[in-house]
Subunit: 423 residues, 2 copies
């Protein structure tokens, strides 16, 4: 069995609403082991919806529609489905009674058009809607080979209906087949280099391994299909293991883990406290670290040293250093890291200075130039970067790079600690 | 002319990513008066993408694809498009040179697969990508009746390419009916109250007025349809005018304006410089302010005073004050604001202290309790808040509230200045 999801609504085509419903349903189908062949969005237009439905049933036995079940004249979904599947509508007295009560309870007058929602498929069945007036409708073709489930568009009605009525049906139909997937999250390495290392794994068909690039990160999604959950999980974890053997150093986490969580975890384990002095990132690094619950054990504080005065007076960077090298320089990044470490009495200090743009660039110091320094017990390490993109991109990449530098230092400290333990 | 948008990516079908790119492109097409017939999402599968493209070209002359232009073997879009439109790929030496330089600048080794991105259509053309390695590709059928534009998937590459290269083409091709829309952005007022004030406008059909609630903000989207751009704009601006008459005080901006832009604009105009001392928001307020280009004229710097030591040593809060009232208290918020204003010598100082959670709450001081103080020429103003939601929600709401407080102070200063001018 495979499925298709059709979202109905001109507002979706115009881009006025983000279709989170279809995303939710797609996840539910995957979890039940029913592959989604295609997702389509079409406007509130009878002919077009009909064409899209006919196309869908060429490939899939199960088609979901989302939206177009309201009481108004542009709510066409139920009519078109009845036509395409030859499952004519009948007026359901019980739904009508429920609608009358629904409106009476709210003290809202029921207009005639509201009763359109009491028309339901003759052969199929109804999925109750406790949060609105449109019941979900299951249509069936005469020969029983094709089915459509029409769900209401408002998320407050759609989501509970999927959870309570659709998911149980899916698990019944999915017949035990399960799709399980896990995301391996890497940083400090580019997408093509990742693929280079796992080339032979990417061609695997079960589980599949798919690389995705995100700003400054690469994700590998491992997805397996099996008859049972345990088998699917086993297939995935064996593949994740193979990836970890090759790229372990770059893996900072799995699934919904964030880089900052991984960094806070490592620093906590290594008992390394940290302080930050940020210029062009303006507090973003501190904000990301402190979004991790429990970060107060390692993060002591930071200075947003936006003006030169703040760099000298609050962090203690030598004025002369700024004058001779410029605020955006290796020397000032080093001094920021070194001084902020001293001020907060931490094991690590990070200093960031750069030109986020869009203004302020020169031929020697272009927009995107960012120096990132890490001061530690043994000295200061500084990295020169030229980031591309918008002001926000430059800042985001700078923060990611700083987190990667801290992570690598903590990993070395950990390896060194283990080395010492062994002797 | 009508268009279809095809998003390519198994991760989209599985519901692992929300497709905001397609939404953005749909908006751009609407704005140019080019109707979108359909939107389709399909996995990284050669046969399926081919089938979807052929189906699309039955109805539309212009088809957009999003994603699948990367260097890896599951990036199939360029091959399939070349096939379907009969516009074979050729190796472009200039793109290849640019790719080599791109990698060299970053000191990253270029692997052979990266050069896949130098294959471009023979008849069509290239849309430059300053933020990544995949150029956009325009394919043309031999007879010139059909066209496809292939755009890269990462939003940081996709969005600027749409703005700079696609929108100008759309306006050239569009012509005729136009959909124009404007978003009125409000803060410091709840959604139901906004709706109460504009109830009679929300029923309008052209332009339409649709309210949307966001964390701590309310947006009203005004959309008009007309034969020409001027007429559509006139319809929208008349409606925006009516909304402004009723809710003007709460409007901080329009369309893509952010609250922090509005605040930086107001502070710049009133010559008010600002410094921040943040505890639970950990630098988020500073990060938001400094994301505004030109914020350096008003933002002097800030301290992320996460530990008590940082509050006393770096900001200068009295140790005794923290001991007697607790770090999360009205008194400490006031002291943070007052002292940071003094340290940076600014007109305004903001102090934030609170419990972001998930741990650390007590019956008297629950998770979500945040004190926000604003120190100014005339004294200190402090606000006690109890925010609901996750750690991130509490922090985000605290930052919004602080921005609203600063905005209101600057508005009063402006009104006062105008008052003085009048006398």
């Amino acid at each position: 069995m495979q499925a298709e999801i059709i979202s109905v609504g001109t507002e979706l085509l115009l881009g006025q609403i983000v279709d989170t419903n279809a995303v939710y349903l797609a996840k539910a189908l995957s979890a039940a082991g029913i592959p989604v062949y295609r997702r389509v969005t079409v406007g509130d237009n009878h002919q077009r919806l009909r064409a899209v439905l006919e196309e869908a049933f060429k490939e899939s036995e199960l088609v979901f529609t989302i939206g177009g079940l309201g009481p108004t004249s542009d709510d066409i979904t139920r009519d078109v489905l009845a036509e395409v599947l030859g499952d004519p509508l009948r007026f359901d007295e019980e739904v009508a009674r429920w609608l009358r009560e629904f409106f009476a309870r709210r003290g809202v007058p029921l207009v005639e058009s509201n009763l359109r929602q009491a028309w339901v498929p003759s052969r199929g069945r109804i999925l109750p809607n406790p949060n609105g007036t449109a019941p979900g409708l299951l249509f069936e073709a005469t020969d029983g080979t094709r089915m459509a489930i029409a769900l209401p568009g408002p998320p407050s009605e759609f989501l509970p209906m999927v959870d309570r009525h659709v998911v149980p049906l899916l698990h019944q139909w999915g017949g035990g087949a399960v799709i399980h997937s896990r995301t391996v999250r890497l940083c400090g390495i580019g997408e093509s280099l990742v693929e280079h290392y796992v080339m032979d794994l990417v061609v695997s068909t079960n589980p599949t391994v798919a690389p995705y690039a995100k700003t400054g990160e690469v994700h590998l999604r491992v997805t397996a299909r099996a008859q049972g959950q345990a088998e699917a999980e086993q297939l995935v974890s064996a593949m994740v293991q193979r990836i970890a053997e090759r790229l372990g150093r770059y893996i900072y986490g799995y699934d919904e883990d964030t880089l900052e969580e991984s960094v806070v975890r490592l620093l906590t384990a290594q008992q390394l406290r940290i302080a930050t002095a940020e210029s062009c990132t303006g507090g973003m690094l501190a904000a990301r670290i402190t979004n991790v619950p429990g970060s107060s054990h390692v993060f002591q504080g930071g200075v947003v040293a936006y003006s030169n005065e703040a760099k000298t007076r609050l962090v203690g960077v030598d004025e002369e250093l700024i004058r001779s090298h410029g605020a955006v320089s290796e020397e000032v990044a080093e001094a920021l890291a070194f001084e902020v470490r001293a001020r907060f009495g931490t094991e690590l200090g990070v200093g960031i200075t750069g030109i986020a743009g869009p203004e302020g660039g020169t031929p020697e110091k272009p927009v995107g130039l960012v120096y990132i320094a890490l001061a530690h017990r043994g000295g200061v390490k500084v990295q020169r970067n030229e980031f591309l993109g918008s002001r926000n991109d430059v800042r985001t990449r700078a923060v990611l790079t700083a987190l990667v530098m801290v992570r690598e230092y903590a990993l070395e400290a950990k390896a060194h600690g283990e080395e010492v333990m062994r002797h």
